[in-house]
Amino acid sequence: MAKALSGLAAKAPGMIKGVVDYSTPKLNTFWHYARVELAPPTPADIPKITSGLQSLVKSAKTGKWQQVTVKEAWLNTLITAEIAFWFFVGECIGKGSIVGYKV
């Protein structure tokens, strides 16, 4: 056991280096996309957001939302689901646990 532990301790720097070497390019790729795609909206986006909301309301009122292709409808479903999942992630943050309410 002690031998295994000391062996592990001797290998640890190399292992850490391996982990870093392995994950750095992946994290760089992640950051390359995330900094653009996951960025929160800026105040400059507000006009586009309001016009987008208005067009949503309008398509709900005029029934235009029924006139989309299956592909668009599927994409809209996915986007709605994604936003719903953001809500659930927020709930997990707010309640401070992953599963259930640890009261």
Binding site: N28, T29, H32, Y33, R35, V36, E37, A39, P40, P41, D45, K48, I49, G52, L53, L56, I79, E82, I83, A84, W86, F87, F88, V89, G90, E91, C92, I93, G94, K95, G96, Y101, V103
Partner: protein, 84 residues
Amino acid sequence: MAALAPVQVSPLIKFGRYSALLLGIMWGSHRFRVNKAKEDAWRVEEAERKVVRDAQKAEEKLRLNREELLYLANQAGVKVPPNF
């Protein structure tokens, strides 16, 4: 570096995501507080009930024990002391 340019996500979707995240945080912490208040109150009551319940159980055990000893004495023909 990565070959593809990142997608320009619609501001409406970004707004939706982050408002949902924020709403979720608010909802989760609200629910947590409500549930915690309820559960804490219940735990206080339950602690009081436990005291009463434990006392009742102890009393019942004493009574049963005495009955059993009396029965055993009767069966074995031992004279029971008057103060038992």
